[in-house]
């Protein structure tokens, strides 16, 4: 079972893993991206993720569909949170199953890289010092402080 979805509540990793199980898959690689307590030396309190839902879902689905063509894998799923997240919360989960581990590792890495690069989702970090801001992909703040 493959696909991409936006989640407005906690991601169920267990359900995601079980959906990848099949008797022909010898290897499953997963990636969990979590909210860290620091970014580039600044203390982080919480995050908000905003998405352009229609396009994020279409683009995320395109990433997963491309991975299924590019790599010798059997299934791939990616889930991205939207809304308010606290430190330690799961922000994004990618799971890939394959016959062998080479393809599973390569595809999982490729999917998270493409999701971060292409899917219209934005992160607003709220810092311990009270400031907040929308982030660039390179993690430097955008918007008000440009």
């Amino acid at each position: 079972m493959s696909g991409f979805r936006l989640a407005d509540a906690a991601i169920d990793v267990h359900a995601g893993l079980r959906a990848l199980d099949d008797p022909g898959s010898g290897a499953c690689v997963t990636f969990e991206g979590r909210v860290r307590d620091r970014n580039e030396g600044r203390g982080v309190l919480r995050l908000d993720y905003q998405a352009y839902p229609a396009l994020a879902e279409a683009e995320g689905a395109a990433v997963v569909a491309e991975a299924l063509v590019r790599f010798e894998i059997r299934a791939a799923t990616a889930v991205h949170r939207v809304g308010a997240l606290a430190v330690g919360d799961l922000a994004v989960w990618v799971g890939v199953s394959a016959g062998h581990r080479d393809a599973a590792f390569a595809a999982c890495r490729w999917i998270i890289d493409e999701v971060k690069r292409r899917v219209p989702i934005w992160k607003n970090e709220h810092y311990v010092d009270g400031e907040s801001g929308w982030l660039h992909p390179d993690n430097s703040p955008v918007g008000a402080r440009e």
């Binding site: 396009l55 971060k116 440009e146």
Partner: protein
């Protein structure tokens, strides 16, 4: 023509709104962005943005039609 605009992230902050309907003579996203950047004080150069029309990525010279939903996509930061 009448366009439906959606704004996200810092563009929504600068525009002070998440969507609006505008009347414009702009015929493509490039001209429309120039108009709206002037109005809302957007500082992104178009080269840093992508543009979507009716929920699909397209290019800046896409011929707009009356009623189109147009979205300027700031650099993404998911993950």
């Amino acid at each position: 023509m009448r366009y439906r605009l959606l704004y996200f992230a810092s563009l929504a902050d600068l525009a002070g709104r998440s969507s609006e309907d505008v009347q414009s003579t702009a015929a493509d996203p490039a001209a429309l962005y120039a108009e709206l950047a002037e109005c809302h004080g957007f500082t992104f150069a178009p080269t840093r943005l992508r543009v979507a029309v009716n929920g699909a990525f397209t290019d800046w010279s896409h011929r707009l039609a009356d009623g189109d939903e147009v979205v300027f996509i700031p650099p993404v930061s998911g993950g």
